[in-house]
């Protein structure tokens, strides 16, 4: 509930920053912004990738070290790329 109260305030603060900020005219390497966006996107997708592996690991019923006799050993879970993975 506390989070719900804080969220609109945070939105207003972010909005105000975006509304009232002024352009900086000092030199910045052109393209650095998009490079940073790309790097940030990479980090988010990578985080999603590792998180998904962890989640899959949680639902694995048997540890790989003790395979059930007569059954194929469980295959290594491969990379899971879904539509929902974040990539700004």
């Amino acid at each position: 509930m506390r989070l719900l109260r804080v969220f609109p305030l945070a939105l207003v603060v972010v909005g105000a920053v975006l509304l009232f900020e002024r352009p900086a005219y000092a030199y910045a390497d052109p393209g650095a912004g998009l490079l940073a966006v790309q790097a940030a996107g990479s980090a988010l997708v990578a985080a999603g990738w590792y998180l998904r592996r962890k989640i899959y690991a949680l639902f694995r019923s048997e540890p790989a070290s003790e395979p059930t006799p007569g059954l194929e050993p469980e295959k290594q879970l491969g990379p899971a790329g879904g539509e929902d993975s974040p990539n700004p």
Partner: protein
Amino acid sequence: MNQPAETFRDDSGLAARDSELECTFRDPAGQLRLTARHALRRIRPAAVESVRAFLSSPLRAALEKSGDLIPSQIASSGDHSFIPRGEFWLEHPRIEPITYPWEWTPAQWRAAAELTLSIASQAIRAGWTLKDATPLNVVFAGPRPVLVDVLSLERRDPNSSLWLAYGQFVRTFLLPLVAAKHLRWPLQATLFVRDGYEPDEIYQALRPWQRLNPDLFDVVTLATLLERPGKAQNATAKTPSKARDPKLTAHILQRRIARLGKQIRRAANLRESSRWSEYTQQASHYQPTDTENKKRFVKETFERLRPQRVLDIGANTGTYSLLAAEAGARVVAIDSDSAALETLWRSAAQNNKSITVLVANIARPTPAAGWRNREHFSLLDRLTGQFDLVLMLAVVHHLILREQLPLAHIADLCATLTRRWLLLEWVPPSDPMYQEWLRGRDDLYGHFSENDLRHAFDSSFAVVDRVALSNGRVLLLFERHSSPAAVAANGKSAEESAA
């Protein structure tokens, strides 16, 4: 790069445009020369090994087979005398005419962007990367986009999750479309920017709430905020661009390309319509019988003359361009109305017709552009003397009334564009469309008649066929006096009569 370079007479003996020795110069890996039939690319020694590796790769074979990449073969000095021995050159077929991004409709921008992303994605899967991603590397062969810069593909570092061309793609493909959709900046304005728009240019122009749009937030707002001094370095330093797992880097790259594809699709969805895009459906000054008579005359003319190359000026949604293409011609369709041409481009693409569409106004043709005005040809440089037949259906009254051009000047232009035939529709002053543009200037323009038109065109053309429609409009087929084909035909008949 598709920039024109020097053009000169090649070994085929076909005349090329001029002989100025000006090569492309921006790409460190090679230069381009154009002959009448080929585009020839010199590969600098340092790049030869990587180019050879790409040429022998399955990726190149797959891209050429699908038609996404221009075909290449190794050129020899035997075929082209200007190639010095020991140098490595590639030969590509010439695509004519080149159209530039500032002459494309939004749907063509989207098609070119999606082609670029598709090639980038295929390259990633095959262990390569597309290092340049700009619309200037895409040329439309008829309605179909083709990547022409074979030097853009290079081996990929499997541990790097950065796509080096990401920034260029955003600046040159995505942001012009974003600006067209959200700010109404015309796509034609990209003539003035070589490397697209910077995120902060768009950011400054967007309204505050537009900056929070989820489709724009990363490439415009975040990119602008991170570009402030001191922030970019921090952000890049903290974020890893190298990962140990090649599967993960490929996954990151593919996600990035999928995201760009989504952003392009949303930005290119301009939902444009204009007065002229609905013109053919709404034209009340045409009775069905007149329309049928006009179509029949134009179709019969195409079938009788069998022109190989046709220029349709004022093509609108392309009813007559499609007729020309069905008769076997390669067509270039020009109109200043982007929405109308987009309809034509879609039907040409769906039916695989050889029609190149080009958003331009023949009365204010696209200028030459780039360094010393020699990087990109002007529209008239690309069109002059290239066509067997030029169509100007209901265009002359626009040129008279809206552009205030004298009839003699219009005749001169037509004589430079066509090698032989000109099919023209004369709209008389009594016509409602003529009256609409007359705007009370009856004293200046209200007296023009078909005879005035014919008199003005007399010096360059002879009328060889004529059909009057019941609405007062007239279709005239002209033949150029000094057309090479007409001269040859006259010479032959003179010889026959002498014998």
